[in-house]
Structure formats: structure tokens, C-alpha cells
Homo-oligomer: 149 residues x 2
DNA sequence: CCTAACCTCTTCCTTAACGAAGAGAAATCT
DNA sequence: AGATTTCTCTTCGTTAAGGAAGAGGTTAGG
């Protein structure tokens, strides 16, 4: 069993496994790395314009258009006109049968089973951690992004 | 605060944040997606031959050679001759100052601080979860990989 | 021994993705 | 109203990455 003493190693292994799994899933549905990245950006940031998506993915306008083309053609995303500004377009996620979400679902079920093996109090600790850690990672990611600019 | 009721959403957000952060870090040090993937494979599986690495990354021999070339030139990896079989080469990870690990370190420190905010019993729950979840993800990744073959 | 199998690397070709620059359409400002 | 700014999209050229096929060196089996 793992203890806080070897926590660093345990955590690193966990992170690697998560990243590996995400990447493998993307590959299994024939998706490139930038596409997966963009999907995560949309999942976290909600619907946004191509310009905003390009900014957050670090792409210029040309590749951004084609990134959205790919995602739209694959059915992950939809282009919706902005009612307030007719120059703009809003890119929004779309539930896609047979898509990445379904490919990744088996793993999430396993995780769900693991989590349910804990007591309610323990589960509360886990979910509290998830929420806090997500914020920390998003902060750190923003810093990474700023450093590049 | 998060509760098990909205646990699915919380967890998805957490996963997206982790993946986003890894990808952003890789980009910040000028590393492609496959390179990051290979680094994770090596971190999880330990040193291995180019053939094995190629198999696990889903690459043929040509791109595998150049993948290792890139990683070696960037200082993340080292080629060592296999003492038992002189046809073989062993690729092993190398600690790299200024590399991906250091770029990602600030986030890990934040995570460390979060974890230390919990009681010892709660920390034990977290580390237990990390270990179990890593196994689950690795299993699921293997299944993904097999499905493609 | 000497042939067959194995492992890595090299070479050539194709494909995919990105950046830069500019066109077209719509909103904002004077 | 007219000019400027702001979006998105298109096009062109470049670069990076992957697949296929074969060469060179090494081990294993007849």
C-alpha cells in the first residue's frame, strides 16, 4: 500500500497514467494532439469564439479555422452564429456517440468503482481534492502560457 | 464545495486540467505530443529497447529512431548498449535540468501544498486513490491499445 | 560454418499541421 | 454616411512527423 513517504513517486505514476490514457484514447479515435487540447480547452472554458480558442491553444487564425473544421467534421463541435455580433461565431461542444468520451468511458467507470469503495467522508476528501487540484493546475497552466508570450 | 452529487463534473474538470497542464508544459519546452507520450511510457515502463518503445507508442521503426533522436538531442534520454545482446540498445530516462520536469514543478508544489493541508488519514486516502487509479488507467490504456491492433 | 532470424538505423515519399499575409463581412467611431 | 477596427476564413509556402522498404551488423539454429 502506498504511504505519504513515497507519495511523490505514486503521484507521478498516477499523472503519467492519466496523460497516457488521454493520449491513447485520442489516438484510438484518430485525433491529433492539438485537437485533444482544444477539446479540453472547450470543456473547461465553455463555448467560445474561434479567436479565443486560437489564443488559448497558441495558434494563429489559419490553423485555428482548420482545427475547428476537423473537430466539426468529426462531430465533436458545432459552429453557431453569435446573435449579438454577426461577425463572430461560437464554437460549442457537442455530445458525440462513439467519440472520445465513449472511448474513455470504461476507464471512468473503473475510477467510479474505486471512488465508491470509499466511505462518504473519504469520498468528500477526494472530491475536495479534485476541485482544488483542478484550480491549481489551471493556474499553473496560465502561468506557463504567459511565460511563452 | 464539491460533493459526490456533482462528482462527475468535478472529476472531468480535474482530468481536463491535468491533461491541459501536461500538454502546455510540453509545448513550453518545445516538445511534441508523441515525445511527451514516449517520455510517459518510459517513466512508467522503465528503460526499454527502441523496438519496445515503438510498439508502445504505435510507431514503426523509422519514426521511432527519430523520436529517440529528438529526445536524446534534447537531453531527456540516453542510448545505452545492451550488454547481453549487441544488436540491442536500451533507452533510458535522464534527469534534465531545465527540462519538462522543472517546468512542471511549480504545479506539483501547489499540489503538494494542497495535499499537506489534509490530515494524515485523509492523505492516506488520497495516496491510496492515486495508486489504485493509476492501475485502472494503465489497464484501460492497454485495452485501448489492444483494440487498435 | 553458414543460413535464417532479429534489431536498429537510413532513405525516400507522402501527409498533416502551422505561420504569414490578405480578402470579405460586420460592427464601431467620428 | 464614411473610415477604421475587428472577426473569420482562404491561400500559399514551409516544416515536422509518419509509413514503407531496405542496408548493416548480431545472434541463434541446422
Amino acid at each position: 500500500m502506498s504511504t505519504p513517504e513515497n507519495g511523490g513517486a505514486v503521484y507521478r505514476r498516477y499523472l503519467s497514467a492519466v496523460m497516457l490514457h488521454g493520449h491513447a484514447g485520442a489516438k484510438a479515435v484518430g485525433m491529433g494532439a492539438t485537437d485533444l487540447y482544444a477539446l479540453n480547452v472547450l470543456g473547461l472554458g465553455g463555448s467560445m469564439t474561434p479567436g479565443e480558442l486560437g489564443r488559448r491553444t497558441g495558434l494563429t487564425t489559419g490553423p485555428t479555422t482548420r482545427l475547428i473544421d476537423r473537430l466539426e467534421q468529426a462531430g465533436y463541435v458545432r459552429r453557431v452564429p453569435d446573435p449579438d455580433d454577426r461577425r463572430k461565431i461560437i464554437v460549442e461542444l457537442v455530445a458525440r456517440p462513439g467519440g472520445l468520451d465513449e472511448v474513455l468511458a470504461p476507464a471512468r467507470q473503473k475510477i467510479g468503482a474505486i471512488v465508491q469503495g470509499y466511505s462518504p467522508e473519504q469520498q468528500a476528501v477526494l472530491f475536495d481534492y479534485f476541485a482544488r487540484a483542478a484550480d491549481a493546475y489551471l493556474d499553473a497552466t496560465t502561468e506557463l502560457h504567459d511565460k511563452r508570450a
